[in-house]
């Protein structure tokens, strides 16, 4: 197994709106945004999903917007929000000579307090990259004498695949397989941000792929109770700008509802088969720690008792202690949107994609990695 590649593909700087596939749509959306912005008002709009963060940096969308419209990067990068303590727990499992430790490639370079999974592998631990949890189960079937652990992370986009893998493990009677479950759920994180006293937000660009699973309904009470528009959005530049138009229209009209800009992919009710699998295998944890956001009630999933035989937290020794982030790193502030990535003292100096200190510098969906990669990408509205 080769180590996960660090990607530095040469990307042409996207300079002119005309280079987009739909320049006229973009120009129209930008004109409408400019028309909707009220003089003297500042708009703080959070894109929840890391995929949107990546697209916003890649296409330099911030540069196109009127200065009163500020985009705040949200907590929707699962690698970034996993706290150091859970990472260390995972690394303890990885370093156990009896265990084959499997995880997505995204996790391999994420630093715990004593190194990353990749560094454990270099020291001789049996750490393997998988691209699907079903591949971790396959490794368990191929190695009946070894214990195989899958380090499960992700929001509702990946949680159903872990659920179906556990159902499959039970069906096949695979006894040497366990999941270390770190799945989190998006709605409690949005609530925690809205309840945070140092955070004022005017609207949300809602996650695209998470919503293919959970649909749009779970956001309805947020829009209603917090009077905050939420628009579930696609990932194209035109989608993101169109979603901003929809949010600003609501703010202008004084309404706050959930709208689905990405209805070509996201059904309003979500994916019922996926929701059923989630409910069968997982239950909500009373609390879970998030990097930067602290402990959030009901914000993560754990494996139900009936699947305890495949739950690493039940069958293996896991310390489960909270570990503070490195003191100098300000990942928490960046994750909450209080600091911009480049305002962190370590950004681009001690902490780079090659030598990440914080998780936000590892994943391409992390605000710091995206900011680092696309520094200097500026758009001009050539007309």
């Amino acid at each position: 197994m080769s180590s996960p590649p660090i990607r530095h593909e040469s990307l042409p700087a996207m300079k002119y709106v005309d280079e987009f596939r739909t320049p006229q749509i973009l120009r129209n959306a930008l004109d409408e945004i400019k028309g909707l912005v009220e003089p003297g008002r500042h708009y703080r709009i959070m894109e929840v999903c890391g995929g949107h963060t990546h697209a916003i940096f890649r296409f330099g969308l911030k540069e196109l917007l009127p200065p009163q419209v500020e985009l705040i990067h949200g907590p929707g990068c699962p690698v970034c929000v996993l706290p150091m303590g859970r990472m260390d727990d995972g690394l303890d499992l990885a370093n156990d000579p009896e265990i084959i430790f499997t995880a997505f490639g995204d996790m391999m370079r994420v630093p715990g307090s004593k190194g990353s999974p990749l560094e454990s592998k270099a020291r001789g631990a049996d750490v393997r990259i998988v691209y699907s949890p079903l591949d971790a189960l396959r490794i368990a079937r191929q190695n009946p004498a070894r214990k195989v652990v899958f380090f499960a992370i992700g929001f509702e986009t990946t949680a159903p695949s872990t659920a179906l893998t556990l159902l499959r493990a039970r069906e096949l009677g695979v006894t040497n397989f366990a999941v270390f479950c770190n799945h989190v759920t998006i709605v409690p994180a949005i609530l925690a941000i809205l309840d945070s006293p140092d955070m004022r937000l005017d609207g949300f660009i809602g996650p695209g792929h998470v919503s293919t699973v959970i649909g749009c309904r779970p956001y309805e009470f947020i829009a209603r109770d917090y009077r905050c528009p939420i628009v579930v959005s696609g990932f194209e530049p035109a989608d993101i700008l169109q979603s901003l138009v929809m949010i600003l229209r609501q703010l202008r009209a004084g309404t706050s509802v959930v709208e689905n800009q990405y209805c070509r992919v996201v059904p309003w009710s979500g994916n019922l088969a996926a929701l059923k699998a989630l409910a069968e295998v997982f239950e909500v944890r009373p609390h879970f720690e998030w990097r930067g956001l602290g402990f959030i009630s009901h914000s993560a999933l754990r494996i139900r008792e009936r699947f305890a035989a495949w739950d690493a937290e039940k069958t293996m020794s896991i310390r489960g202690v909270s570990v503070a982030d490195p003191k100098a790193a300000q990942c928490g502030e960046v994750l909450k949107g209080v600091l911009k990535p480049h305002e962190c003292k370590l950004f681009g100096k001690e902490c780079t994609p090659e030598r990440p200190i914080g998780a936000l510098m590892v994943s391409s969906e992390g605000a710091c990695a995206a900011h680092f990669k696309y520094r200097g990408v500026k758009l001009q509205t050539a007309s």
Binding site: S132, R138, L164, T212
Partner: protein
């Protein structure tokens, strides 16, 4: 992990209705289609794949758009690595 990879269904597995052979950017792989049980795909349909599981059916236009998007985000080769890495159905004919 968070990549949504567009793929076209080439054939449904005869031995295991949970699996289908798909074409992912020219790579042939079996993926799990259980989550589409309420609206099962047929050969020729386009789907979005996450970590080996088809999560939603999409149009051809949407698939093209997503492929283009992956390329422009510099994630196309990561998506190919991921798709090429699905091995869970390698033993199934």
């Amino acid at each position: 992990m968070c990549l949504a990879i567009p793929a076209q269904i080439s054939a449904l597995s005869e031995d295991d209705t949970r699996l289908a052979t798909v074409d992912i950017m020219g790579v042939r792989r079996k993926v799990n289609v259980e989550l589409l049980q309420d609206d099962p795909p047929t050969p020729g349909d386009w789907v979005l794949i996450h970590v080996g599981f088809a999560m939603s059916k999409i149009s051809h236009a949407q698939a093209t758009e997503q492929l283009d998007m992956l390329a422009r985000l510099g994630e196309a080769s990561a998506a190919l690595d991921e798709a090429g890495g699905y091995e869970f159905a390698a033993d199934t004919p």
